[in-house]
Protein backbone atom coordinates (compact mmCIF):
# COMPACT_ATOMS: atom_id res chain seq x y z
CA UNK A 1 0.00 0.00 0.00
CA UNK A 2 1.58 3.28 -1.07
CA UNK A 3 2.07 6.00 1.52
CA UNK A 4 2.87 9.64 1.20
CA UNK A 5 4.18 11.81 3.99
CA UNK A 6 2.94 15.38 4.19
CA UNK A 7 6.60 16.40 4.06
CA UNK A 8 7.11 14.68 0.71
CA UNK A 9 4.01 16.29 -0.76
CA UNK A 10 5.19 19.70 0.48
CA UNK A 11 8.82 19.36 -0.64
CA UNK A 12 8.11 17.85 -4.06
CA UNK A 13 5.04 19.82 -5.06
CA UNK A 14 5.41 23.11 -3.16
CA UNK A 15 5.40 25.17 -6.36
CA UNK A 16 2.86 23.05 -8.19
CA UNK A 17 0.27 23.60 -5.45
CA UNK A 18 1.70 27.04 -4.54
CA UNK A 19 1.91 26.10 -0.85
CA UNK A 20 3.00 28.03 2.23
CA UNK A 21 3.19 26.25 5.57
CA UNK A 22 1.21 28.34 8.09
CA UNK A 23 2.09 26.53 11.32
CA UNK A 24 5.05 24.50 12.62
CA UNK A 25 6.80 21.58 10.92
CA UNK A 26 5.49 19.13 13.50
CA UNK A 27 2.67 18.11 11.19
CA UNK A 28 4.96 17.20 8.27
CA UNK A 29 5.60 13.67 9.49
CA UNK A 30 1.94 12.68 9.17
CA UNK A 31 1.06 10.22 6.43
CA UNK A 32 -1.55 10.27 3.71
CA UNK A 33 -3.03 6.86 2.97
CA UNK A 34 -5.60 7.57 0.26
CA UNK A 35 -6.11 9.74 -2.77
CA UNK A 36 -9.35 11.36 -1.77
CA UNK A 37 -10.03 14.99 -0.94
CA UNK A 38 -12.68 16.25 1.46
CA UNK A 39 -14.23 19.70 1.99
CA UNK A 40 -15.11 19.65 5.70
CA UNK A 41 -17.92 22.21 5.50
CA UNK A 42 -20.41 20.14 7.49
CA UNK A 43 -17.77 19.28 10.09
CA UNK A 44 -17.36 23.02 10.79
CA UNK A 45 -21.02 23.17 11.78
CA UNK A 46 -20.32 20.43 14.32
CA UNK A 47 -21.58 17.43 12.36
CA UNK A 48 -18.95 14.67 12.55
CA UNK A 49 -20.88 11.51 11.76
CA UNK A 50 -19.12 9.54 9.01
CA UNK A 51 -16.42 12.20 8.88
CA UNK A 52 -13.70 10.98 6.42
CA UNK A 53 -10.75 11.89 8.66
CA UNK A 54 -8.08 10.12 6.57
CA UNK A 55 -8.56 12.36 3.55
CA UNK A 56 -6.79 15.55 2.60
CA UNK A 57 -8.98 18.38 3.88
CA UNK A 58 -9.46 21.50 1.76
CA UNK A 59 -11.07 24.72 2.98
CA UNK A 60 -12.15 27.56 0.72
CA UNK A 61 -13.19 31.16 1.10
CA UNK A 62 -16.77 30.32 2.17
CA UNK A 63 -15.63 28.09 5.02
CA UNK A 64 -13.05 30.56 6.32
CA UNK A 65 -15.61 33.41 6.18
CA UNK A 66 -17.88 31.18 8.25
CA UNK A 67 -15.07 30.40 10.73
CA UNK A 68 -14.22 34.13 11.09
CA UNK A 69 -17.74 34.86 12.29
CA UNK A 70 -17.47 32.49 15.26
CA UNK A 71 -17.18 33.72 18.84
CA UNK A 72 -13.82 32.90 20.50
CA UNK A 73 -15.44 30.02 22.45
CA UNK A 74 -17.08 28.48 19.37
CA UNK A 75 -13.82 28.87 17.44
CA UNK A 76 -11.88 27.02 20.15
CA UNK A 77 -14.48 24.29 20.62
CA UNK A 78 -15.17 23.57 16.93
CA UNK A 79 -11.51 23.76 15.88
CA UNK A 80 -10.51 21.39 18.71
CA UNK A 81 -13.19 18.97 17.58
CA UNK A 82 -12.03 19.19 13.94
CA UNK A 83 -8.33 18.64 14.54
CA UNK A 84 -8.86 15.98 17.21
CA UNK A 85 -10.17 13.77 14.35
CA UNK A 86 -6.50 13.13 13.44
CA UNK A 87 -6.72 14.48 9.89
CA UNK A 88 -3.52 14.23 7.79
CA UNK A 89 -3.33 17.84 6.60
CA UNK A 90 -5.41 20.91 5.82
CA UNK A 91 -5.02 23.18 2.81
CA UNK A 92 -6.75 26.54 2.52
CA UNK A 93 -7.18 27.93 -0.99
CA UNK A 94 -6.94 31.45 -2.45
CA UNK A 95 -4.07 32.36 -0.13
CA UNK A 96 -6.42 32.97 2.78
CA UNK A 97 -5.06 32.87 6.33
CA UNK A 98 -7.34 31.50 9.08
CA UNK A 99 -7.49 32.94 12.64
CA UNK A 100 -4.29 32.49 14.71
CA UNK A 101 -6.10 30.35 17.27
CA UNK A 102 -7.15 27.94 14.48
CA UNK A 103 -3.47 27.42 13.52
CA UNK A 104 -2.36 27.00 17.13
CA UNK A 105 -4.93 24.27 17.75
CA UNK A 106 -3.90 22.51 14.53
CA UNK A 107 -0.33 22.64 15.82
CA UNK A 108 -1.37 21.11 19.14
CA UNK A 109 -2.71 18.10 17.21
CA UNK A 110 0.42 18.09 15.04
CA UNK A 111 -1.49 18.76 11.85
CA UNK A 112 0.06 20.93 9.16
CA UNK A 113 -2.07 23.76 7.76
CA UNK A 114 -1.06 25.13 4.35
CA UNK A 115 -2.25 28.08 2.41
CA UNK A 116 -2.33 27.81 -1.37
CA UNK A 117 -2.74 30.75 -3.73
CA UNK A 118 -4.68 28.60 -6.20
CA UNK A 119 -8.47 28.79 -6.46
CA UNK A 120 -10.34 25.98 -4.73
CA UNK A 121 -11.31 24.22 -7.95
CA UNK A 122 -7.81 24.48 -9.44
CA UNK A 123 -6.29 23.25 -6.18
CA UNK A 124 -8.61 20.24 -5.88
CA UNK A 125 -8.11 19.35 -9.55
CA UNK A 126 -4.33 19.41 -9.20
CA UNK A 127 -4.40 17.59 -5.87
CA UNK A 128 -6.67 14.85 -7.24
CA UNK A 129 -4.44 14.34 -10.29
CA UNK A 130 -1.29 14.14 -8.17
CA UNK A 131 -2.76 11.86 -5.49
CA UNK A 132 -4.43 9.58 -8.05
CA UNK A 133 -1.05 8.76 -9.58
CA UNK A 134 0.58 8.08 -6.21
CA UNK A 135 -2.23 5.92 -4.90
CA UNK A 136 -3.07 4.16 -8.17
CA UNK A 137 -3.15 0.39 -7.69
CA UNK A 138 -0.06 -1.24 -9.18
CA UNK A 139 1.61 -4.63 -9.50
CA UNK A 140 4.72 -6.08 -11.09
CA UNK A 141 4.42 -8.86 -13.62
CA UNK A 142 6.99 -11.05 -15.31
CA UNK A 143 6.81 -10.49 -19.04
CA UNK A 144 7.80 -8.27 -21.95
CA UNK A 145 5.91 -5.19 -23.11
CA UNK A 146 6.24 -4.04 -26.72
CA UNK A 147 4.48 -1.33 -28.69
CA UNK A 148 3.50 -2.92 -32.00
CA UNK A 149 1.89 -0.43 -34.45
CA UNK A 150 0.84 1.59 -31.39
CA UNK A 151 -0.82 -1.39 -29.69
CA UNK A 152 0.63 -2.43 -26.33
CA UNK A 153 1.30 -6.19 -26.40
CA UNK A 154 2.22 -7.80 -23.09
CA UNK A 155 4.04 -11.10 -23.61
CA UNK A 156 3.76 -13.58 -20.78
CA UNK A 157 4.84 -17.17 -20.37
CA UNK A 158 7.50 -19.23 -18.69
CA UNK A 159 11.05 -18.06 -18.32
CA UNK A 160 13.07 -19.12 -21.36
CA UNK A 161 10.08 -19.49 -23.69
CA UNK A 162 11.46 -16.71 -25.91
CA UNK A 163 9.65 -13.51 -24.94
CA UNK A 164 12.78 -11.39 -25.17
CA UNK A 165 13.72 -12.93 -28.52
CA UNK A 166 10.28 -12.07 -29.92
CA UNK A 167 10.70 -8.52 -28.62
CA UNK A 168 14.13 -8.25 -30.26
CA UNK A 169 12.72 -9.39 -33.58
CA UNK A 170 9.91 -6.85 -33.30
CA UNK A 171 12.33 -4.01 -32.51
CA UNK A 172 14.37 -5.01 -35.54
CA UNK A 173 11.21 -4.58 -37.62
CA UNK A 174 10.65 -1.07 -36.29
CA UNK A 175 8.48 -1.66 -33.22
CA UNK A 176 9.33 -0.35 -29.78
CA UNK A 177 10.33 -2.00 -26.52
CA UNK A 178 8.73 -0.65 -23.35
CA UNK A 179 10.19 -3.02 -20.80
CA UNK A 180 11.55 -6.53 -20.54
CA UNK A 181 11.31 -9.01 -17.71
CA UNK A 182 9.88 -6.91 -14.89
CA UNK A 183 6.86 -4.85 -15.90
CA UNK A 184 5.39 -2.39 -13.45
CA UNK A 185 1.68 -2.07 -14.19
CA UNK A 186 -0.46 0.78 -12.87
CA UNK A 187 -4.20 1.17 -13.20
CA UNK A 188 -4.72 4.75 -14.32
CA UNK A 189 -8.50 4.57 -14.58
CA UNK A 190 -11.31 2.00 -14.48
CA UNK A 191 -10.42 0.55 -17.91
CA UNK A 192 -6.84 1.61 -18.43
CA UNK A 193 -3.67 -0.16 -17.32
CA UNK A 194 -0.28 1.23 -18.21
CA UNK A 195 3.01 -0.67 -18.08
CA UNK A 196 6.49 0.68 -17.61
CA UNK A 197 9.92 -0.70 -16.84
CA UNK A 198 12.10 -0.19 -13.81
CA UNK A 199 14.56 2.64 -13.54
CA UNK A 200 17.48 0.28 -12.91
CA UNK A 201 16.79 -2.07 -15.83
CA UNK A 202 15.93 0.68 -18.31
CA UNK A 203 15.77 -0.86 -21.76
CA UNK A 204 18.29 -3.60 -21.10
CA UNK A 205 17.36 -7.15 -21.79
CA UNK A 206 18.83 -10.59 -21.58
CA UNK A 207 19.11 -12.71 -24.69
CA UNK A 208 20.00 -16.33 -23.90
CA UNK A 209 23.38 -17.07 -25.37
CA UNK A 210 24.45 -13.43 -25.73
CA UNK A 211 23.85 -11.98 -22.30
CA UNK A 212 22.66 -8.51 -21.41
CA UNK A 213 22.11 -6.03 -24.23
CA UNK A 214 21.11 -2.37 -24.22
CA UNK A 215 18.29 -1.88 -26.71
CA UNK A 216 18.50 1.91 -26.61
CA UNK A 217 22.19 1.89 -27.50
CA UNK A 218 21.83 -0.79 -30.16
CA UNK A 219 18.69 0.40 -31.94
CA UNK A 220 18.52 4.01 -30.92
CA UNK A 221 15.69 6.07 -29.56
CA UNK A 222 13.22 4.79 -32.15
CA UNK A 223 13.42 1.31 -30.63
CA UNK A 224 12.15 2.25 -27.20
CA UNK A 225 9.39 3.94 -25.30
CA UNK A 226 8.93 4.73 -21.62
CA UNK A 227 5.39 3.60 -20.96
CA UNK A 228 2.49 2.12 -22.88
CA UNK A 229 -1.12 1.21 -22.32
CA UNK A 230 -1.48 -2.58 -22.17
CA UNK A 231 -4.04 -3.61 -24.78
CA UNK A 232 -3.54 -7.31 -25.45
CA UNK A 233 -1.85 -10.05 -23.44
CA UNK A 234 -0.04 -12.58 -25.62
CA UNK A 235 0.62 -15.76 -23.71
CA UNK A 236 3.37 -17.91 -25.17
CA UNK A 237 3.51 -21.60 -24.33
CA UNK A 238 5.02 -24.76 -25.73
CA UNK A 239 2.83 -26.48 -28.28
CA UNK A 240 0.85 -29.18 -26.56
CA UNK A 241 -1.25 -31.89 -28.17
CA UNK A 242 -3.70 -31.85 -25.30
CA UNK A 243 -4.47 -28.16 -25.32
CA UNK A 244 -7.22 -26.67 -27.43
CA UNK A 245 -6.22 -23.54 -29.32
CA UNK A 246 -8.44 -20.84 -30.71
CA UNK A 247 -9.43 -21.69 -34.27
CA UNK A 248 -12.14 -19.20 -35.16
CA UNK A 249 -11.51 -16.16 -32.98
CA UNK A 250 -15.12 -14.99 -33.12
CA UNK A 251 -15.36 -14.72 -29.35
CA UNK A 252 -12.84 -12.70 -27.39
CA UNK A 253 -11.07 -14.27 -24.46
CA UNK A 254 -10.08 -12.04 -21.60
CA UNK A 255 -7.74 -11.98 -18.68
CA UNK A 256 -7.86 -9.34 -15.97
CA UNK A 257 -4.99 -7.14 -14.90
CA UNK A 258 -5.72 -5.12 -11.75
CA UNK A 259 -9.41 -5.71 -12.39
CA UNK A 260 -9.28 -4.40 -15.97
CA UNK A 261 -10.34 -6.91 -18.66
CA UNK A 262 -7.60 -7.34 -21.28
CA UNK A 263 -8.00 -9.49 -24.44
CA UNK A 264 -5.87 -12.63 -24.16
CA UNK A 265 -4.31 -14.52 -27.06
CA UNK A 266 -2.68 -17.91 -26.48
CA UNK A 267 0.09 -18.64 -28.95
CA UNK A 268 1.66 -22.08 -29.01
CA UNK A 269 5.33 -22.01 -29.93
CA UNK A 270 6.66 -24.65 -32.26
CA UNK A 271 9.65 -24.74 -34.60
CA UNK A 272 9.17 -22.79 -37.79
CA UNK A 273 6.44 -20.55 -36.44
CA UNK A 274 7.04 -16.87 -36.96
CA UNK A 275 5.81 -15.28 -33.76
CA UNK A 276 6.85 -11.82 -34.93
CA UNK A 277 4.50 -11.79 -37.89
CA UNK A 278 1.78 -13.33 -35.75
CA UNK A 279 2.36 -10.51 -33.24
CA UNK A 280 1.93 -7.86 -35.92
CA UNK A 281 -1.29 -9.52 -37.00
CA UNK A 282 -2.53 -9.63 -33.39
CA UNK A 283 -1.87 -5.89 -33.10
CA UNK A 284 -3.55 -5.06 -36.42
CA UNK A 285 -6.49 -7.32 -35.63
CA UNK A 286 -6.90 -5.53 -32.31
CA UNK A 287 -6.95 -2.20 -34.13
CA UNK A 288 -9.59 -3.52 -36.54
CA UNK A 289 -11.73 -4.55 -33.56
CA UNK A 290 -11.25 -1.15 -31.94
CA UNK A 291 -12.45 0.43 -35.18
CA UNK A 292 -15.50 -1.86 -35.10
CA UNK A 293 -14.41 -4.59 -37.47
CA UNK A 294 -14.42 -8.19 -36.27
CA UNK A 295 -13.02 -10.34 -39.03
CA UNK A 296 -14.00 -13.69 -37.53
CA UNK A 297 -17.54 -12.51 -36.81
CA UNK A 298 -17.88 -10.98 -40.29
CA UNK A 299 -16.64 -14.17 -41.87
CA UNK A 300 -19.04 -16.40 -39.96
CA UNK A 301 -21.88 -14.06 -40.95
CA UNK A 302 -20.83 -14.40 -44.60
CA UNK A 303 -20.76 -18.17 -44.26
CA UNK A 304 -24.21 -18.22 -42.65
CA UNK A 305 -25.58 -16.06 -45.47
CA UNK A 306 -24.11 -18.35 -48.09
CA UNK A 307 -25.59 -21.44 -46.44
CA UNK A 308 -28.94 -19.72 -46.19
CA UNK A 309 -28.85 -18.70 -49.86
CA UNK A 310 -27.89 -22.18 -50.96
CA UNK A 311 -30.75 -23.75 -49.03
CA UNK A 312 -33.14 -21.22 -50.60
CA UNK A 313 -31.88 -22.14 -54.05
CA UNK A 314 -32.22 -25.80 -53.33
CA UNK A 315 -35.78 -25.36 -52.04
CA UNK A 316 -36.66 -23.43 -55.17
CA UNK A 317 -35.18 -26.02 -57.47
CA UNK A 318 -36.71 -28.88 -55.56
CA UNK A 319 -40.17 -27.35 -55.68
CA UNK A 320 -39.65 -26.73 -59.38
CA UNK A 321 -39.24 -30.44 -60.01
CA UNK A 322 -42.26 -31.75 -61.76
Amino acid sequence: MPQLTVEKLYKERKDFFDLTLLNSEKGLKKKLVNAEIHRPGLALTGFFERFPNRRTQVLGQTEITYVSQWSPETLRERTEKLFSQNIPLMIISKGITPPIEFLAIADKYETAVFSSRLSTSELTTRLAAYLDIIFAPSITRHGTLVDVYGVGLLYTGKSGIGKSEVALDLIERGHRLVADDVIRITRKSADLVVGTGSELLGHHMEIRGIGIIDVEKLFGIRGIRIQKRIEVEVHLSHWSEDQEYERLGAEDRYTTILGVPIPLVDIPISPGKNITVISEVIAMNHMLKVYGENTAAEFSKRLAERIHRQSMTREYLESDYE
Binding site: T140, H142, K158, S159, G160, D180, D181, V182, S198, L200, L201, H204, M205, E206, I212
Partner: protein, 91 residues
Protein backbone atom coordinates in the same frame (compact mmCIF):
# COMPACT_ATOMS: atom_id res chain seq x y z
CA UNK B 1 4.09 -23.73 -2.98
CA UNK B 2 7.14 -23.89 -0.76
CA UNK B 3 9.03 -20.88 0.51
CA UNK B 4 11.91 -19.94 2.76
CA UNK B 5 13.82 -16.86 3.85
CA UNK B 6 17.48 -16.30 3.06
CA UNK B 7 19.87 -13.53 3.98
CA UNK B 8 22.51 -12.21 1.61
CA UNK B 9 25.96 -12.54 3.20
CA UNK B 10 28.21 -11.34 0.37
CA UNK B 11 29.97 -8.07 1.03
CA UNK B 12 29.11 -6.75 -2.42
CA UNK B 13 25.55 -8.01 -2.24
CA UNK B 14 23.87 -9.94 -5.01
CA UNK B 15 25.72 -8.33 -7.89
CA UNK B 16 25.78 -9.54 -11.48
CA UNK B 17 27.79 -12.74 -11.02
CA UNK B 18 25.85 -14.11 -8.02
CA UNK B 19 22.61 -13.16 -9.77
CA UNK B 20 23.69 -15.12 -12.85
CA UNK B 21 24.63 -18.05 -10.63
CA UNK B 22 21.25 -17.88 -8.91
CA UNK B 23 19.24 -17.95 -12.13
CA UNK B 24 21.24 -20.68 -13.79
CA UNK B 25 20.83 -22.76 -10.64
CA UNK B 26 17.11 -21.99 -10.49
CA UNK B 27 16.70 -22.91 -14.15
CA UNK B 28 17.82 -26.47 -13.40
CA UNK B 29 14.52 -27.10 -11.63
CA UNK B 30 11.23 -27.60 -13.38
CA UNK B 31 9.28 -25.61 -10.75
CA UNK B 32 8.45 -21.96 -11.15
CA UNK B 33 10.82 -20.01 -8.91
CA UNK B 34 10.33 -16.55 -7.43
CA UNK B 35 12.52 -14.33 -5.34
CA UNK B 36 11.16 -11.47 -3.30
CA UNK B 37 12.71 -8.51 -1.52
CA UNK B 38 10.81 -5.71 0.23
CA UNK B 39 7.53 -6.72 -1.38
CA UNK B 40 8.98 -6.78 -4.92
CA UNK B 41 8.63 -10.28 -6.35
CA UNK B 42 10.45 -11.31 -9.51
CA UNK B 43 10.93 -14.49 -11.53
CA UNK B 44 13.88 -16.40 -10.07
CA UNK B 45 14.85 -17.75 -13.48
CA UNK B 46 15.35 -14.38 -15.09
CA UNK B 47 18.60 -12.57 -14.55
CA UNK B 48 17.22 -9.08 -15.20
CA UNK B 49 14.56 -9.52 -12.54
CA UNK B 50 16.99 -10.89 -9.97
CA UNK B 51 19.47 -8.08 -10.63
CA UNK B 52 16.68 -5.53 -10.35
CA UNK B 53 16.24 -6.47 -6.71
CA UNK B 54 19.72 -4.98 -6.12
CA UNK B 55 19.95 -7.04 -2.93
CA UNK B 56 22.67 -5.67 -0.69
CA UNK B 57 24.52 -7.49 2.10
CA UNK B 58 22.19 -8.31 4.96
CA UNK B 59 18.98 -8.02 2.95
CA UNK B 60 16.28 -10.62 3.52
CA UNK B 61 15.04 -12.56 0.53
CA UNK B 62 12.01 -14.80 0.31
CA UNK B 63 12.66 -17.62 -2.12
CA UNK B 64 9.61 -19.55 -3.23
CA UNK B 65 8.83 -22.24 -5.77
CA UNK B 66 5.85 -24.10 -7.10
CA UNK B 67 5.98 -27.38 -8.95
CA UNK B 68 7.15 -30.96 -8.66
CA UNK B 69 10.58 -30.19 -7.24
CA UNK B 70 9.62 -27.04 -5.31
CA UNK B 71 11.13 -28.12 -1.99
CA UNK B 72 14.45 -29.20 -3.50
CA UNK B 73 14.62 -26.01 -5.53
CA UNK B 74 14.04 -23.69 -2.59
CA UNK B 75 16.36 -25.58 -0.24
CA UNK B 76 19.23 -25.65 -2.70
CA UNK B 77 18.79 -21.98 -3.66
CA UNK B 78 18.72 -20.95 0.01
CA UNK B 79 21.94 -22.94 0.49
CA UNK B 80 23.47 -21.15 -2.48
CA UNK B 81 22.66 -17.75 -0.96
CA UNK B 82 23.92 -18.81 2.46
CA UNK B 83 27.15 -20.13 0.92
CA UNK B 84 27.80 -16.66 -0.45
CA UNK B 85 27.40 -18.06 -3.97
CA UNK B 86 30.58 -20.03 -3.48
CA UNK B 87 32.63 -16.86 -3.74
CA UNK B 88 34.84 -17.05 -0.66
CA UNK B 89 36.77 -13.89 -1.50
CA UNK B 90 33.63 -11.83 -1.33
CA UNK B 91 32.53 -12.80 2.20
Amino acid sequence: MYQKMAQVINRLGMHARPAAMFVSHASKFSSEVWIEKNGLKVNGKSIMGVMMLAAEKGSQLIISAEGEDEQRAVESLVDLVHDGFGDLKDL
